[in-house]
C-alpha cells in the first residue's frame, strides 16, 4: 500500500468509524440506525433543495477550513476563525447596507471588506505573536469574544436603531442568485461557493507553489533556521495570520451576503469557526482535503435537520458523529498502524 493511498484511506476510515459508533449509540438508545441514517441521507440527497442547502452550508465551512489549515501549515493555530468570521460578516453587511453602487462595484467591495476585516482581526494576534511572542491561541480566543461583543454593539448602535439586526443588504451587494435558487427548488444556495473554490485554489497555489508559501512553511517549522536563511520571520507570522484571517472574513461574507443577507446580534458563537478546525483536520490541512471535508460536514449538518422528523433521532447525534470523526482522524496513528499491518500482510 502506498503512502499516498494510506493518507487517503485514513480519513475515510475515520469517517466510517464515526458512523459505526454513531450507529451503536442509536442502537443503545433504542433508535433504528438504518432509519436514522437513511433519514440523514435523505436529508442531503433526498431532493435538490436539501442538496442545495448542503452546498450552501458547505461554503462557509470551506473558507473557515482554509483559514485554519493555512495557519496550521505555517505553524500557527488560529482558534480565532470564529471572531474573524463575525467581523467579516459585519463588514460585508455594513458595506451592503450603507453603500449605493452598481453590483459590479458593490458586491466585490462588500466581499473585499469582509476579507479585510477578517485580515485585520488576524493581524492583531499576528503582530502580538511577532512582536511580543504572545501565544496566538490565547489571543485568538480573546479576540473571538471581542469580535462578538463589538459586532453586537455596532449592529445595535450604528447599523440599526437598537434593533437586533441590520436592514437587509442592497440587492447589488447580494450573493444570492435566483438562478441557483430556482435550480435547487428555492434553497439558499448562492454564488459564494464560487468564491470559496477560488480561495481553495489560491491557498493551494500560495502554499505549494510560491516562494511566499515556502517562506511561510519554513517559518512555521523552524523560526531560527528561517531567520538564519534571511527570511523575515515576524513579517511571515503576521502575513500568515492576515491571510488566514482574510479567509475567515470571507466565510463571514458568505453568511452576510449569501445566506442571511443581514447581520444580527448574537448571544453566542456561530460554531462555524470551530467546525473549521474539524474541517481542516479531516482534510489533512490540504486545500482539496478541506473541500471534501467541508462537504461532508455541510451535508451532515443539513441532513441532520431531517432526522428528528423522519426517524425521531435527535439531531445532536450528528454532532456526536462529527466529534467522533475528529477524534478518529486525530488519532489516525492507530489507523495507520492498522493499515501498515494490513499492507505488510499483503506483501
Amino acid at each position: 500500500m502506498s503512502n499516498r493511498l494510506k493518507s487517503i484511506l485514513t480519513p475515510l476510515i475515520a469517517v466510517l468509524l464515526g458512523m459505526v459508533v454513531g450507529a451503536i449509540i442509536m442502537l443503545i438508545s433504542g433508535y433504528n440506525p438504518i432509519a436514522g441514517f437513511s433519514s440523514l441521507f435523505a436529508g442531503v440527497f433526498g431532493d435538490v433543495y436539501s442538496f442545495g442547502e448542503s452546498i450552501r452550508q458547505m461554503t462557509p465551512y470551506v473558507l473557515a477550513g482554509l483559514a485554519v489549515a493555512f495557519a496550521f501549515r505555517t505553524g500557527l493555530f488560529n482558534i480565532g476563525v470564529e471572531g474573524q468570521l463575525i467581523v467579516g460578516w459585519l463588514a460585508a453587511v455594513w458595506v451592503g447596507v450603507a453603500i449605493d453602487a452598481p453590483k459590479i462595484i458593490h458586491l466585490p467591495l462588500a466581499v473585499i471588506a469582509a476579507g479585510l476585516a477578517g485580515a485585520l482581526w488576524g493581524f492583531i494576534p499576528g503582530i502580538l505573536k511577532a512582536k511580543f511572542r504572545v501565544h496566538e491561541v490565547i489571543v485568538t480566543i480573546m479576540m473571538n469574544y471581542i469580535a462578538l461583543h463589538v459586532a453586537n454593539a455596532i449592529i445595535r448602535t450604528v447599523l440599526s436603531e437598537k434593533s437586533d439586526k441590520t436592514d437587509k443588504i442592497a440587492e447589488s451587494a447580494s450573493l444570492a442568485s435566483p438562478f441557483l435558487a430556482q435550480l435547487t427548488d428555492y434553497s439558499r444556495l448562492h454564488w459564494g461557493f464560487v468564491i470559496s473554490i477560488i480561495c481553495v485554489v489560491v491557498m493551494w497555489f500560495i502554499l505549494e507553489k510560491t516562494t511566499l508559501g515556502y517562506e511561510l512553511r519554513s517559518v512555521g517549522f523552524n523560526q531560527h533556521a528561517s531567520q538564519y536563511a534571511g527570511m523575515n520571520v515576524n513579517r511571515n507570522i503576521v502575513l500568515s495570520m492576515v491571510i488566514s484571517g482574510a479567509f475567515a472574513g470571507l466565510a463571514g461574507a458568505m453568511e452576510g451576503l449569501g445566506t442571511f443577507q443581514y447581520a444580527n446580534i448574537k448571544a453566542g458563537f456561530t460554531g462555524v469557526g470551530f467546525d473549521g478546525i474539524a474541517v481542516a483536520l479531516l482534510g489533512g490541512n490540504t486545500a482539496i482535503g478541506v473541500v471534501l471535508a467541508a462537504f461532508l460536514f455541510g451535508a451532515l449538518k443539513v441532513g441532520a435537520l431531517n432526522m428528528p422528523l423522519q426517524s425521531g433521532v435527535p439531531n445532536e447525534l450528528v454532532e456526536i458523529i462529527i466529534a467522533l470523526i475528529i477524534f478518529f482522524v486525530a488519532a489516525s496513528y492507530v489507523i495507520r498502524l492498522f493499515l501498515d499491518r494490513l499492507s505488510r500482510k499483503e506483501d
Partner: protein, 337 residues
C-alpha cells in the same frame, strides 16, 4: 390559502407544526407555551404527534430556520408557525417560496398573503404587574432586567415603568439589560447589584437570564428569611421558579408573573384555520381583552389592595381610557391624569 382552508374541513388530515428558535419547546417561555398550544389543539382534535398530526422542529442556529420551515411545508402541514421574532425573515422568505402553505409568525409581523402575524400587547400586561410592584414595594426601589435591548423588550420595560409610576410616583425603577436571553450568570450579577442597592422587586423579561434573577432572590431569601424581596416572572406563571425551602418551610419569591398566552393564540389560530378562516396577511394582536396577556393565576404573594388596583386598571386599559406606552418616547409623555 383557499385550498388549505378546504383541506381543513377534513378531520383526519389537518396537521399543524411549528419551528422553535434555539430555545426549544421547554424554554419555560414562549416556545414552550406555543408547543402547549399545539398539544392542546392536538388533544382537542385527537391528533397524533408527528407528520400528519402536530409536530415541532427545533433550530440549532439562525441558519436552520429557513430549512426547517421549508421542511415542514414540504411535509404538507396545514399551518406552520414560526415562533419568535428571530424567525421573521425566514418566514417571510419561505412564505413567498411556498405560496400553497399557510404560515404564522409569533411576536413579529410578516406582510405576506399566506402569513398570519400574531403579536401581544406585552406593555399592557407589564403595566399591570407594574401596578402590583408599585403598590407592593417598601423601599420604593424597583428593578427591571431586560434581555436584549430591542423594541420588543422595550415594550415590557415601558409598560412596567408606566404601571409603577401610575400608582406610586415616588418609586424609582432601575432598568438594566443583560445583553442576552441565555446568561443566567448575568442575571444573577445584575440582581445582586440591584438587591444590594435596596431594590425589593425585580421584573425580568430576559428568558433564561432571568433564572439568575430567581437564583439570587432565593439565595438572599435563604440568607435573610425576614427580608421581603420579590421577582416578577414573565411569559408564563413563574411561581414554581420562586419556590424556596427555608428551614423546612416553603417560601416563594415570585410576586406575580406577566403571562403571555402564546398557547391560546396558537390554538386559536389553528382552530380558525381548520374552520377555513385562515387570517392570511392579517395582524392579530392579543391584548388584555382577549386574555392574550394577563397577570398570573398564582396570587399568593399579592395583596388584596394590589389585586383590586389591577382590576381597576385593567378596565381603564380595556375601555381605552388610558393607552399604555410602548416606547420610551411614549413613556416620557405618558401620564395617568
Amino acid at each position: 390559502s383557499e385550498k388549505t382552508g378546504d383541506s381543513g374541513n377534513n378531520e383526519d388530515t389537518f396537521s399543524v407544526a411549528m419551528v422553535t428558535d434555539i430555545g426549544g419547546v421547554d424554554d419555560k417561555s414562549f416556545n414552550q407555551s406555543a408547543w402547549e398550544g399545539l398539544q392542546a389543539f392536538g388533544a382537542e382534535h385527537g391528533l397524533e404527534k408527528g407528520i400528519g398530526g402536530y409536530e415541532y422542529l427545533q433550530s440549532q442556529g439562525d441558519q436552520d430556520y429557513a430549512p426547517n420551515l421549508n421542511k415542514l411545508a414540504r411535509e404538507k402541514f396545514d399551518v406552520i408557525y414560526g415562533i419568535g421574532f428571530l424567525m421573521q425573515d425566514a418566514v417571510n422568505e419561505i412564505a413567498q417560496q411556498q405560496p400553497e402553505s399557510n404560515f404564522a409568525i409569533v411576536d413579529a409581523v410578516v406582510d405576506q398573503p399566506n402569513v398570519a402575524s400574531i403579536t401581544f400587547k406585552e406593555h399592557e400586561g407589564s403595566f399591570l404587574v407594574g401596578v402590583i410592584a408599585g403598590l407592593t414595594t417598601k423601599t420604593n426601589k424597583i428593578g427591571f432586567v431586560g434581555g436584549v435591548e430591542i423594541p420588543l423588550i422595550e415594550k415590557f420595560e415601558t409598560g412596567f415603568v408606566a404601571g409603577v409610576k401610575a400608582v406610586n410616583p415616588n418609586a424609582n425603577v432601575d432598568v438594566q439589560y443583560s445583553g442576552a436571553f441565555d446568561k443566567p450568570e448575568a442575571g444573577q450579577s445584575i440582581a445582586n447589584g440591584m438587591y444590594s442597592a435596596g431594590v425589593d422587586i425585580i421584573y425580568h423579561a430576559s428568558g433564561a437570564t432571568g433564572n439568575g434573577v430567581f437564583k439570587e432572590a432565593k439565595d438572599l431569601k435563604v440568607q435573610d428569611p425576614e427580608r421581603e424581596l420579590y421577582v416578577i416572572g414573565v411569559d408564563k406563571d413563574q411561581a414554581p421558579e420562586g419556590d424556596v425551602e427555608i428551614n423546612g418551610e416553603m417560601k416563594n419569591v415570585t410576586l406575580t408573573s406577566m403571562v403571555k398566552r402564546v398557547d391560546i393564540a396558537v390554538q386559536d389560530l389553528a382552530n380558525k384555520t381548520k374552520n377555513g378562516e385562515f387570517p392570511g396577511g392579517e395582524l392579530i394582536e392579543y391584548g388584555l381583552d382577549a386574555n392574550g396577556v394577563s397577570v398570573a393565576e398564582t396570587q399568593d404573594n399579592v395583596s388584596k389592595e394590589a389585586l383590586d388596583a389591577v382590576a381597576e386598571w385593567t378596565e381603564k386599559i380595556k375601555s381605552g381610557e388610558i393607552t399604555v406606552p410602548q416606547t420610551r418616547d411614549e413613556l416620557a409623555s405618558f401620564s395617568v391624569n
